[in-house]
């Protein structure tokens, strides 16, 4: 039986060294970006077509600290959902959810429609206007297939990430007090120095990976449209047949 993989990110252990960010770029041959100052130490500012994993330096209010805030480092990347909204939204079948867990975009099939960019509840896929394609973390599926750890996990200097069988990972996460979602990535919440814990909302970790409301409405609208068109064509065909037979009868009656 195929092993389904997942990984646990223990935010208490992460020091924000960004080794994972660099390792991802090196393994996937992604260029560096021209960066600019922003209101945080996060660098670059966000995920991009050439930054598939990203360390977010969050400054959360904590009055027990002299300076009034506490840093939490959150690794942003594709969550590799069990039922990916991006996959459902892709009109050309360019996105695949592999049995082992990875959700991968096949750039040779991607037409740059950006449907997945909008559909993803976590805001992960990024569109590159130069190549007219969408990019995101691919779970290092090529490394996994060769029994290697994903590049980011391999490079982690503090052991903040654990990779393995998804059920084991989820069980460990639950034991640590985390609430695993229907994804392959599980975050373990950090603890502040005064013992408080931020919420998932504080860390912008998103909700369960269901499609956005606009996508749910869109699905209904298009289903009704297709159904309406089919019924119209059938109705039109029936009308024409009836109309023809009535005309023939009228002609026969007249002669």
């Amino acid at each position: 039986m195929m092993t389904k993989y997942g990984w646990l990110i223990d935010l208490d252990k992460c020091t924000g060294c960004r080794a994972c960010q660099v390792a991802c770029k090196r393994w996937n041959d992604l260029p560096a970006e021209v960066t600019e100052f922003n209101d945080k130490w996060t660098n670059p500012k966000d995920l991009s077509p050439t930054t598939w994993t990203h360390m977010d330096f969050m400054e959360l209010d904590n009055n027990s600290q002299d300076y009034g805030f506490e840093w939490v480092f959150v690794k942003r990347q594709c969550w590799h959902c069990d039922n990916p909204a991006c996959l459902d939204s892709c009109p050309v079948g360019a996105i695949t959810k592999y049995d082992e867990g990875p959700v991968v975009i096949d750039q040779s099939k991607c037409t740059g429609c950006k449907y997945c960019v909008d559909a993803c509840p976590f805001g992960i896929p990024r569109y590159d206007s130069q190549t007219d394609k969408v990019y995101k973390c691919n779970f290092c599926f090529d490394r996994i297939a060769n029994d290697l750890l994903p590049a980011c996990i391999k490079s982690c200097t503090t052991g903040a990430m654990e990779f393995g069988d998804l059920e084991t990972i989820r069980a460990k996460a639950s034991a640590m007090g985390a609430s695993p979602k229907a994804t392959s990535i599980v975050y373990s919440m950090p603890t502040f120095r005064n013992g408080d814990q931020p919420t998932e909302a504080d860390l912008a970790l998103g909700d369960q990976p269901s499609a956005k409301p606009t996508w749910q409405v869109r699905s209904i609208v298009n289903s009704l449209g297709v159904l309406g068109t089919a019924l119209s064509l059938i109705g039109g065909f029936v009308y024409v047949i009836k109309h023809r037979s009535r005309s023939v009868k009228e002609k026969e009656g007249g002669t």
Partner: protein
């Protein structure tokens, strides 16, 4: 047989430009949105050269539709000023009542009322296309990043684009069906020639009192 002028010379090329662009947009748009989901679509998509080709063609047809729309709106403005078309564009209270009469007639009871140059269905189709294509154009351009309208997220744009596509598409199907099967055969030839027989006009549009006659 005497004929009457049904359409102005400017109306005919605008109609066919709209026809070509809307047909092209429908085909390429449907192939873009449903290639994975509907049977037969992958085949047609491949015939066209792939979904990315359909997407590029969609943009070409969209540009043609925008040009058409500009000409169309200009022609309508000129028509209102020069020929007093405003009556042909605005619904009268009687026409609104006619909507319900017509529905009853189609369902098998009652009769439709005599109409003027254009009946409520034709007026409704006009507004359906104008409003629909304007919304499709704005949302389409915004999705391409050409407008950057901040209130519309990509998802809202896409939803509006889909809703108004089906509105326009339904109107077009009904329009073609009515032209082909509801006895408007003279209107069909008129969209090529611009003229219909005076007898047909008197029978089909009894409240229309055309002034431009020509002998056939």
């Amino acid at each position: 047989m005497p004929t009457v002028k049904r359409y102005e010379p400017t109306t005919i090329p605008i109609h066919w430009m709209a026809f070509v662009s809307l047909l092209g947009l429908s085909v390429t748009g449907l192939l873009t949105a449903f290639t994975k989901n509907l049977p037969g679509f992958p085949f047609f998509s491949n015939v066209l050269g792939g979904v990315d080709v359909a997407q590029q063609l969609h943009r070409v047809f969209a540009a043609l539709l925008i040009v058409t729309l500009i000409f169309w709106i200009l022609a309508v403005i000129v028509g209102i000023i020069k020929y007093g078309w405003s009556n042909a564009l605005v619904f009268t209270p009687k026409e609104i009542q006619d909507i319900f009469r017509s529905i009853r007639a189609v369902l098998g009871g009652g009769k439709t009322e005599p109409t003027g140059k254009f009946h409520w269905g034709q007026k409704l189709f006009f507004w359906q296309i104008i409003v629909g294509t304007v919304v499709l154009g704005i949302t389409g351009l915004d999705m391409m990043g050409a407008l950057n309208l901040s209130p519309f997220s990509y998802g809202i744009n896409l939803l509006l684009h889909d809703v108004f596509f089906w509105v326009v598409f339904a109107g077009c199907i009904l329009h073609v069906w009515a032209v082909l099967f509801v006895g408007n055969e003279q209107d069909f030839s008129a969209i090529f020639t611009g003229y219909i027989d005076a007898d047909f006009a008197a029978k089909k549009y009894p409240n229309w009192k055309p002034t431009k006659f020509e002998k056939g």
